[in-house]
Symmetry: C2
Subunit: 232 residues, 2 copies
């Protein structure tokens, strides 16, 4: 028996390091709106508050900067750049990327992928009817995850994940509303069928509208009124 059937290699990324801890901490705090837009961060003070040296903190800040969540001005300070408009645009970015992924999934999906997506939709129907929000969150994630897999994309999926502003708590809040559950179910069903029939344009359009809609709902709950107003 090959050993590979009994154990699985550990991915080196799993090993914890301070930089990623700090990065996740700060990212969560920023996208949750716990920092004011434009608020100034001091590297020294932040490092002291976090109990780390400035080296891993600086690396985490550079990652956040690359993600567009902070802006660094040399010898002046680091400033948070995340407010309502950026949240909206981040949501649109995710819609654009996720809909491109859906288009590719519609083009490349195998029959087994279609079967799996339809099965997930059926189980979503059950969870929606039962109002099992925790299960629904897992199924939603599995649904989008399988579309990613069927698309055969890697970079696009990683880039899309960086546009994500939800954590588990926020998802619970969003899906707590029965209306949202119903809308999402219908959209997921339509996306699955578009992929099943290989209709790339439909898959892209429905996915885009789905992500835009749920994103706007989220942004509104976090930031209040949105400038976009009408749907795109």
């Amino acid at each position: 028996m090959a050993e590979s059937e009994r154990v699985v290699p550990v991915h080196p990324i799993f090993l914890a390091n301070l930089r990623d801890h700090v990065h996740h901490n700060l990212r969560d705090a920023i996208v949750a709106g716990r920092f004011q837009d434009g608020e100034r961060l001091s590297e020294r003070d932040l490092a002291r508050e976090l109990g780390v040296s400035t080296t891993p903190l600086k690396e985490a800040l550079r990652q956040l900067e690359s993600e567009g969540l902070v802006r660094t001005e040399a010898r002046r300070g680091v400033y948070v750049t995340f407010g309502a408009q950026q949240a909206e645009e981040m949501s649109l970015a995710r819609a654009a990327l996720e809909s491109m992924i859906a288009r590719l999934a519609a083009k490349r999906a195998e029959p087994s992928d279609v079967e799996r997506l339809r099965d997930l939709v059926r189980r979503m129907e059950g969870a929606t009817a039962a109002g099992d929000i925790t299960l629904l969150i897992d199924l939603n994630e599995a649904f989008h995850g399988h579309i990613h897999e069927a698309s055969g994309c890697d970079y696009l999926c990683r880039l899309q994940a960086k546009q994500q502003m939800y954590n588990h708590t926020i998802r619970v809040g969003l899906l707590g509303e029965a209306e949202e559950r119903g809308l999402a179910l219908g959209e997921h069903r339509a996306i699955a069928e578009a992929i099943a029939t290989g209709d790339q344009d439909a898959a892209e359009r429905i996915m885009r509208d789905h992500v835009v809609r749920s994103g706007q709902r989220h942004v509104q709950t976090v930031f209040g009124a949105t400038r976009l107003g009408d749907t795109i």
Copy 2:
């Protein structure tokens, strides 16, 4: 006379620092294919070659990592992650984002924006007829830049810029072909008209196909055969 009419404030970002130099150097080298996909980089060696300490290099590497161009395995090494597939996906990411921006531009463009875009198209026609590639490159950039402006987007445009794999040299090569110049001109004209008439769906679709097409041409010249083959 207000002083602001005679001088313009310097942006703090303009001030040079080693980190950004290193980042630009490495990014250019990677997207130009001057590193093998999977090639290992040593922080110490690279820092020595570049003549900097590991601190700014580490920060540059974290930015590249956030952009998906390298992957760091703790205490093992930093590996370049950029090959044909990733180049394709990066091109698709730009298409997705740029087409979302075009959609928003079609929704929000003012008459003055439309006038400016049409003027740029006219000048592109002239430059195309004259075969003035340098001018054409500038006009292309101005055209896309003005669509960005008309869209009112900031984050989306910055994210889009990160998907860019062209530098001036590569553009000269691409637009060196008369066929490419003709195709691009027609697409630009159609995009301008879609924005002018507020046709969001058309603006998005034409922009997407435009970016996908020119991206595939570029990827093919750099990496040879593409897996995508047929157009999406």
